[in-house]
Symmetry: C2
Subunit: 120 residues, 2 copies
């Protein structure tokens, strides 16, 4: 039996941060990769914040960063890796389970409360 | 138009932390309140961690802490407030929207990839 039903160990800390959740959601939607600038605009993150998140995600092999030198300024293309995508989707599954658990207990709390009113 | 579709400002930071998410989920399931000890066991948190989270939640009026002196040791009963419950459920709604967005983009990425395979 699960001793601590609300421990949520499946919620990987690397993904459970608002900025990194935004970045990963965005990259799953754009598997071909995104430029640093496009990612920054989509997620409303500052340069520093996005940089910090991308380094954390690259260190754990969730994303790859590719520096592209064209005719103009070099740009960085960010892609989610296959294993990063799988880990992120597992995190999202766990998040869905939490959402369902809350909605379920909210429904039974409301039903119990209606029952108490009806029988009082 | 939404300039930053992935900014997720609705994900209130107070709830978007694994320990506090566990505590609030637990308290929504137990609207009559829970003892500190029961909450600690259900969420697998240390004394210090649970204390820290409860103080943060009490400061923002999400929970109330009631110290009860009986015949034995005093115990603390923790309850989620009505406004705390509403804010938490709004956070959960936003979380559900994120889960759906990821699942949706995952499905279209899979469909696009199948299409590329079929036409290549």
């Amino acid at each position: 039996m699960n001793q601590a039903p609300f421990a949520y160990e499946g919620l990987e800390r690397i993904f459970h941060e608002r900025g990194r959740l935004a970045v990963c959601t965005c990259l799953v939607a754009n598997p071909e990769g995104m430029s640093f600038t496009a990612l920054q605009e989509a997620c409303a993150l500052t340069d520093g914040n996005l940089n910090r998140h991308l380094h954390a995600l690259a260190e754990t092999s969730i994303v790859t960063l590719e520096r592209v030198r064209g005719s103009g300024r070099p740009t960085t293309t960010v892609r989610i890796t296959e294993s990063g995508r799988e880990r992120f989707l597992a995190y999202i599954d766990q998040l869905e389970a939490v959402v369902r658990a809350v909605q379920e207990s909210e429904r039974s709390a409301a039903a119990n409360s209606a029952l108490r009113l009806a029988t009082s």
